[in-house]
C-alpha cells in the first residue's frame, strides 16, 4: 500500500495525546501551533516515559553495577536499537550514535572524517537550500583543510538543478551533503539519485534528515546514505537528543570527535583505546532521559504510521498552499502545493514577515518569521526573511483556516 492510499488520521483522537494544544494564548484565544518545523509538540507517552525514568530508575549508564544503572543502561541502549530499526539501519545500535541534535551529528562527521580526509583539491558539494547546520559546518571545515565547497543550484520553482549537480559532482568530490527535505521550501530532494551520483565518483553521501524523519518513512539503506542525521525534538521527542546514523565500516574507521569518559575502553597516561560503536562517539554522560524519550517518540509515530503521517501532511499543506495563494499578494516559495512536505514559507506583499507573525501571534497562530537558518537561500530568493507555517500530524484544516484568517487580518491592518 502506497502513501497515496494511506488511511486518514483520526486527528481529533491524536490531539488528545497533546494537551498543550488545548491551551489558550491570551484571553479566549486558542493556540494554533504551526511552528512544527522548529520543534514539534510532545505526546503524553513521551513525557510519561521520561518522567518514569526520573521517578523510578534514574542512574548513569554503562558504569554502575547497581540495579538502577543496569535498568537505565538497558533502556538507553535499547533506544539505539529502536531508532536503528525505525530508519532501516540493519547494523542496529552500532550504526546509531546519539548526539545533541542534527547540528552536532553534522559536526561529528565534519570533524572526525572531514578534518583528516579533506585537503586542497578536494571538493564538498552542498546545495543552495542547505540549513546552516550543514552549510556553516562544511564551509568552516573547508577553510581549515583547504578543500572547496560548491553549491548545487536551486531552480526558480524550488527544486535542485540536477544537471548542475551532475556538473558539480566529479572525481574531486569527496563528500556530497544534502538536505533531505528543505526546511524553507518544503522540497523533497531526490536523495537516492544524488547518492548514486556521489557514489559514482567515490564520494561519501551525507543526508540532513531533520525535516524528513518526522513526517515520512525513511530507510537509510534504501537511500544508500553513508551518513544520515536528525533531531529528536522535531519528531515528537525531547530536545537534547539527535541521531547520527553511519555505515558501520565508516564509523569504525573514524576517530572520535569528542574525547572523555564513556568513549574509551582502556586508558593509560600515554594512550587511549576507543570504545566499541556507537559509544566511541558518545563522550561523557549522554542524554539518557532524552534517548529513552526518543524511543517512546518512535513508538508513538509508528503506532500511527509514517505513511499516514506523510499523507496527512501532504493534504494539509496542499490545502494551505491553495488557500494562501488565492490572493495575488501572497508568494509561497518552493514547489507547488501538491509536491511538497508540510510547510509553506510565504511573503505577504507590503508587510514585513515579523509584522505578519506578530499579527498572527495576536490571533493565537504560532509561526516562524525570519531566515530559518538558510540565509544564503534567502539571498537567492531575494528576500531577507519569510513567514513559515509548518504542520504536523495533529494539525487540522480548521487551523489552516485560522492561519488564513490571521493573514487576512494582517493584510487589512496594513492596507494602504
Amino acid at each position: 500500500m502506497g502513501v497515496q492510499d494511506a488511511e486518514p488520521l483520526d486527528v481529533e483522537r491524536i490531539r488528545e495525546d497533546f494537551p498543550i494544544l488545548d491551551r489558550e494564548v491570551g484571553e479566549g484565544t486558542d493556540l494554533v501551533y504551526l511552528d512544527n518545523g522548529a520543534t514539534s509538540q510532545t505526546p503524553e507517552s513521551v513525557v510519561e516515559t521520561m518522567s518514569e525514568y526520573y521517578r523510578t530508575y534514574n542512574a548513569n549508564v554503562h558504569r554502575g553495577i547497581h540495579r538502577l544503572s543496569q535498568e537505565a543502561s538497558i533502556a538507553y541502549e535499547d533506544a539505539h536499537d529502536r531508532v536503528a530499526e525505525f530508519i532501516g539501519a540493519s547494523g542496529g545500535r552500532e550504526e546509531v550514535a546519539f548526539t545533541k541534535n542534527t547540528t552536532e551529528s553534522m559536526n561529528v562527521v565534519a570533524y572526525a572524517w572531514g578534518l583528516s580526509e579533506l585537503g586542497p583539491g578536494d571538493e564538498v558539494v552542498l546545495t543552495q537550500m542547505e540549513h546552516h547546520a550543514a552549510l556553516v559546518t562544511w564551509q568552516q571545515i573547508a577553510k581549515k583543510t583547504g578543500a572547496e565547497v560548491k553549491f548545487i543550484r536551486v531552480t526558480d520553482d524550488g527544486y535542485l538543478d540536477l544537471d548542475h549537480a551532475r556538473e558539480l559532482i566529479t572525481d574531486d568530490t569527496e563528500m556530497v551533503s544534502v538536505v533531505h527535505v528543505s526546511n524553507t521550501l518544503g522540497t523533497v530532494n531526490p536523495v537516492s539519485e544524488l547518492a548514486d551520483l556521489a557514489h559514482d565518483h567515490d564520494a561519501l553521501f551525507f543526508v540532513d534528515g531533520a525535516q524528513a524523519v518526522p513526517n515520512r518513512p525513511v530507510d537509510v539503506e534504501a537511500i544508500d546514505a553513508d551518513f544520515y542525521a536528525f533531531s529528536g525534538h522535531k519528531m515528537c521527542g525531547p530536545t537534547g537528543v539527535g541521531v547520527l546514523y553511519g555505515k558501520r565500516h565508516l564509523l569504525e574507521e573514524m576517530d572520535p570527535y569528542l574525547f572523555g569518559g564513556m568513549m574509551i575502553k582502556k586508558v593509560t597516561f600515554e594512550e587511549s583505546k576507543w570504545n566499541d560503536l556507537p559509544w566511541k562517539f558518545e563522550a561523557g554522560t549522554p542524554p539518557i532521559a532524552e534517548g529513552i524519550g526518543l524511543h517512546a517518540a518512535v513508538d508513538y509515530l509508528e503506532s500511527i504510521g509514517m505513511d499516514r503521517i506523510q499523507r496527512h501532511e501532504e493534504r494539509i499543506v496542499e490545502y494551505a498552499y491553495d488557500r494562501l495563494t488565492d490572493h495575488d499578494d501572497v508568494t509561497v516559495f518552493g514547489p507547488p502545493g501538491d509536491d511538497r512536505v508540510g510547510l509553506v514559507s510565504f511573503d505577504l506583499d507590503g508587510v514585513h514577515p515579523h509584522d505578519v507573525s506578530q499579527i498572527l501571534d495576536e490571533h493565537g497562530v504560532a509561526v516562524r518569521a525570519g531566515d530559518h537558518c538558510t540565509q544564503p537561500l534567502h539571498d537567492v530568493l531575494g528576500v531577507s526573511a519569510t513567514t513559515r507555517a509548518s504542520f504536523y500530524l495533529y494539525n487540522t484544516r480548521e487551523e489552516v483556516d485560522a492561519l488564513v484568517e490571521a493573514v487576512d487580518a494582517a493584510r487589512e491592518l496594513f492596507a494602504v
Binding site: 514585513h352 509584522d355 506578530q358 499579527i359 501571534d361 531577507s384 487580518a409 496594513f414
Partner: protein
C-alpha cells in the same frame, strides 16, 4: 480596523507615511545600522545648528518591519531641538514611551534600532566611538 495591541493607528500611520523620509542635502553626520536577524536597516542623517550641539534637521531611510520604520519616523520628529547630549541620554524607555504601545520582548530591538543608530552616529561624530555600522545583535 482589526484590533491589534502593537499596531495602533499612530504606528501604522508613521509606517505608511514616514516623516522626514529621505536624505539631507548637507548632513553634519550620517550613520547606518541593522538588525541582522530581521533584515531591518536604517540610515539616519543629522544636521546640527550653528552651535554645533543642537539638532536642527533629521532624515532617515531604510527598510524593515513596521515597528523599526515607525520608530525611525517618530524619532525624526522628536529629535530636532534636542541637543546631542540629550540624544545620548535617551534610553529604551524613552523609545517605548514615544511608540506608546507594548512592544513584545522579541521586538524591542526593532523599536530601538533608529535610536541606537542616531546615538552611535553622534558618538562617532564626537570622536568617542569608531564604528562602521550599528548592529543590535
Amino acid at each position: 480596523m482589526v484590533g491589534s495591541d502593537m499596531y495602533r493607528q499612530q504606528i501604522l500611520d508613521h509606517y505608511r507615511n514616514p516623516r522626514n523620509h529621505g536624505e539631507l542635502e548637507d548632513p553634519t553626520f550620517s550613520h547606518v545600522g541593522e538588525n541582522p536577524m530581521c533584515g531591518d536597516e536604517i540610515t539616519m542623517d543629522v544636521e546640527l545648528a550653528e552651535d554645533g550641539e543642537t539638532i536642527e534637521r533629521v532624515a532617515f531611510r531604510g527598510e524593515g518591519c513596521a515597528i523599526s520604520q515607525a520608530a525611525a519616523s517618530m524619532l525624526s520628529e522628536r529629535l530636532p531641538g534636542k541637543t546631542l547630549s540629550e540624544l545620548r541620554e535617551m534610553d529604551r524607555d524613552d523609545v517605548l514611551d514615544m511608540l506608546g504601545v507594548d512592544i513584545s520582548p522579541m521586538r524591542i530591538k526593532c523599536a530601538v534600532l533608529a535610536e541606537k543608530v542616531a546615538q552611535d552616529g553622534a558618538e562617532i561624530y564626537l570622536g568617542e566611538k569608531d564604528l562602521d555600522r550599528t548592529s543590535t545583535e
